[in-house]
């Protein structure tokens, strides 16, 4: 599916600052059958935007703002072709990948309750079956409820609560997979689904401006490579998913990371539009 994305981030400050550094992970990946034809990222105030590729293969755009300002607007637009189905990458895992995607991490810590939860889904000798069962179990166990958790919530906490958003669903499933020695990684990106947006609106659930931002999970299955699963919707990755970054957990892939000098308070506003043939939608 051919999708166009416009991701606008506004950093506002309660008073003027004059030294800020910002990193953004917003460029759709060229991997797993997905192709990003065009990407641009501009800032206001204008400045040079530089890039690097991080350890997980994500493209990071970054810039500094060394002039007095109380607002920065970053506009990222992309034009991307998503594959009809997720194509597992052939690439074998490096020793570091294997370590990173099997070891508990900050958002997906080792936890007794998660281990018990994972064990209930175990299919002896078949890690794909196990991963699929974990996806379904996470989806059943957790209730989608914005506001129940925040950006710092760990898998152990959201599982205990039984509620959360896509980030929490993903972390629970990742922690569970790792506890059963199935390598798992966090995927951040977008989900284009006009139908689900409509359903949510009809159900009276507020759909925020950045609702198309989404997170899900890749699991690595021996002999098959990465398989991409979405525990929030109990679904494999389809052509409605746009992959932007992968890592051990959310901490490796935040869309924005920045630092500034001064005592000003920062407010962040994000708006995401995903279009295909004139349709607009967002959903997490």
């Amino acid at each position: 599916m051919r999708l166009q994305i416009r991701h606008t981030t506004v950093f506002g400050y309660s008073e003027s600052i004059n030294e800020a550094y910002t990193e953004m992970r917003l460029r759709p990946l060229d991997a797993a059958g997905q192709r990003c034809y065009r990407f641009s990222l501009t800032t206001e105030p204008r400045g040079e935007v530089m890039t690097y590729v991080d350890r997980y293969g994500n493209v990071v755009h970054h810039f500094d703002t060394l002039q007095s300002h109380d607002r920065v607007v970053v506009t990222a637009t992309s034009d991307v072709e998503t594959p009809a189905e997720f194509l597992p990458e052939e690439r074998e895992l490096t020793p570091l990948d294997l370590f990173d995607f099997l070891t508990p991490s900050g958002y997906a810590p080792e936890d007794r309750k998660i281990a018990d939860f994972a064990n209930s889904c175990r299919h002896e000798g078949d890690s794909l079956e196990t991963a699929m069962a974990l996806m379904e179990a996470t989806w059943k166990r957790m209730t989608y409820q914005p506001g129940a958790t925040d950006v710092r919530t760990k898998a152990s906490e959201s599982l205990e609560l039984g509620r959360g958003v896509c980030q929490d669903f993903a972390h629970v499933m990742i922690a569970a997979c790792r506890s059963l020695a199935i390598p798992a990684r966090y995927v951040s990106g977008y989900l284009y689904s006009p139908r689900l947006v409509r359903e949510r609106k009809d159900a009276g659930i507020e759909v925020p401006d950045n609702a198309a931002s989404h997170a899900w999970v890749d699991v690595h299955i021996a002999g098959q490579g990465w398989i991409s699963l979405d525990p929030t919707h109990n679904s494999r990755q389809t052509d409605q998913y746009v992959r932007v970054a992968t890592g051990r957990d959310y901490a490796d892939v935040p869309p924005t990371r920045g630092i500034y000098k001064g005592n000003a308070r920062e407010t962040l506003t994000v708006q995401v539009e995903v279009r295909s043939g004139g349709l607009t939608s967002g959903l997490n």
Binding site: E19, Y21, M50, Y52, H62, D64, L96
Partner: protein, 482 residues
């Protein structure tokens, strides 16, 4: 007037004594100093000692102690007048051994941040390297100039009961103490000007210039006349004296994080005449604090955006980020294998035998022998986080037993090495104190060392801990040119 040196029946004890052979006669390379000391009266020795103290005080040669009773106290680093002497052939051997070791460790660092061959081939366990506190994922794929990560290494050498040199640990982050090495020499030259000529002591005064040449040799390629600065955490750091001293000796600027700014991936110093580019940073700030954008967000000491400028190849950091994984005390146990793997050679210098608590059979042995072993936390340095079994209390041992069982990866243990001793003048008498030796190895265009290093002395009678933060002192170290 009585000769003082032997008046208290110097006791060699059951140790290797650096100065005296087992029969009590001075070793040949100490003979001249032995004679000189026998000629001296206690009064004249005391007088020279006083001169040394005053000179250290005037020079401001101090360090800061961190403990509960004396928080942030600045002390003069205690200095002992009797020099430690190393014959040339012994030094040649040490130099070969350390060059080999540092060369292999730099290859190891390059490998673990790139192909990870040593892990693929099963020589060292993945969790040991990737689970190390100082392994930095940010460094994966980054290519520092000349492939060098640890430009300045300080390895601690000790000698066992038979006089064999052993490497006790390597320091690949910001090894300190070199200013004491230089100041000790200056003081000795002032106090015993005639001795040096006569003795044939190799010079070490070129160290700052060697260091500067090393730093310049690893500048980003296209810079003909690179600007080098020293980045300090500031006056509250225990080694701040050394930072100012080295900067002055090298003729470079000493800066704090707030003096630097990154713009469009280039680093500048803020001067009264605007921004001035910087190409090489000799940094004495730990990884965690060096760039709040990439590491500890709350750090006020670092420079935002520095890692990105470094990754872009516009500035060199010495040492590189992520070198601490190679001085992790569990990784240390594998250095002989690391040398074999990259250089296809046997290690010239041996390690102290080391038990890894992460290995089940080693752990059992450690827990059964806590009263005999020295247990070390793998990430700590400066003598902190350590249990000296033979001198420990039952409570201390129980505390370590719990910590080891909780996180085995974080602990190693070694047998108590009977460290060599050296005659040392303390409180009016000369007695044997345990010593170690920290030479400084520079890696740039080539690997170089000044002949010598910092000899640290455990001044407390019977103490095995030589760290300055733990009541240690130091001596001038003479490497002979014959």
């Amino acid at each position: 007037m009585r000769p003082f040196l032997l008046e208290n029946d110097y006791d060699i004890g059951d140790f290797f004594d650096e100065m005296f052979a087992a029969d009590g006669s001075p070793r040949s390379h100490y003979r001249a100093i032995d004679e000189r000391l026998r000629e001296m009266t206690r009064e004249s020795f005391e007088e020279r000692r006083r001169q040394a103290d005053i000179s250290f005080l005037y020079q401001g040669v101090t360090f800061t102690v961190y403990n509960k009773e004396e928080e942030g106290i600045e002390r003069i680093f205690p200095f002992d007048l009797i020099p430690r002497i190393i014959p040339q052939r012994e030094w040649d051997y040490l130099e070969r051994g350390l060059t080999q070791r540092v060369t292999a460790l730099n290859l190891f660092l390059h490998d673990i941040y790139h192909e990870q061959r040593i892990i693929r081939e099963g020589v060292i366990p993945a969790e040991l390297v990737f689970g190390a506190k100082h392994f930095r994922r940010e460094m994966v794929g980054i290519n520092p100039p000349r492939g060098i990560y640890a430009h300045i290494v300080g390895s601690d050498l000790v000698r066992d009961r038979d006089g064999n040199y052993l490497v006790l640990e390597d320091n690949l982050r910001s090894p300190s103490g070199v200013s004491y090495m230089l100041e000790n020499r200056q003081a000795m030259k002032r106090i015993f000007p005639d001795l040096f000529q006569r003795y044939g002591v190799s010079p070490i005064e070129q160290y700052p210039q060697d260091l500067l040449a090393t730093l310049r040799s690893v500048a980003p390629h296209d810079v003909p006349d690179p600007t080098v600065v020293l980045l300090t955490p500031g006056i509250y750091n225990s080694a701040y004296f050394e930072h100012t001293y080295l900067a002055r000796q090298m003729g470079i600027e000493i800066v704090e994080g707030r003096d630097l700014v990154v713009h469009d991936n280039h680093v500048y110093t803020r001067t009264t005449r605007g921004l001035k580019p910087v190409e090489v940073i000799y940094r004495r700030i730990d990884d965690e604090f060096i760039d709040p954008l990439s590491f500890n967000h709350d750090s006020m000491l670092g420079v935002s955006g520095l890692l990105n400028a470094y990754r872009a190849g516009n500035v060199t950091l010495a040492n590189a980020i992520g070198t601490g994984v190679a001085d992790d005390k569990a990784v240390y146990a594998f250095v002989p294998e690391i040398i074999r793997f990259y250089l296809d050679e046997e290690a010239i210098l041996s390690n102290v035998p080391t038990y890894l608590a992460m290995r089940e059979q080693d752990r059992g042995y450690i827990l059964d022998n806590l009263d005999k072993l020295v247990v070390k936390s793998v990430n700590e340095s400066g003598g902190y986080g350590m249990l000296v079994g033979t001198q420990s209390t039952r409570e201390e041992r129980e505390r370590f037993r719990e910590m080891i069982s909780a996180v085995p990866r974080n602990f190693i243990a070694q047998p108590t090495i009977s460290l060599s001793r050296h005659p040392t003048y303390q409180g009016g008498e000369v007695y044997g104190c345990h010593v170690d030796l920290r030479p400084y190895i520079l890696s740039g265009e080539r690997v170089t060392m000044v002949p010598g290093g910092l000899t640290r002395v455990a001044l407390r009678k019977g103490s095995l801990v030589v760290n300055s933060s733990q009541g240690g002192g130091s001596k001038d170290t003479w490497v002979l040119n014959h």
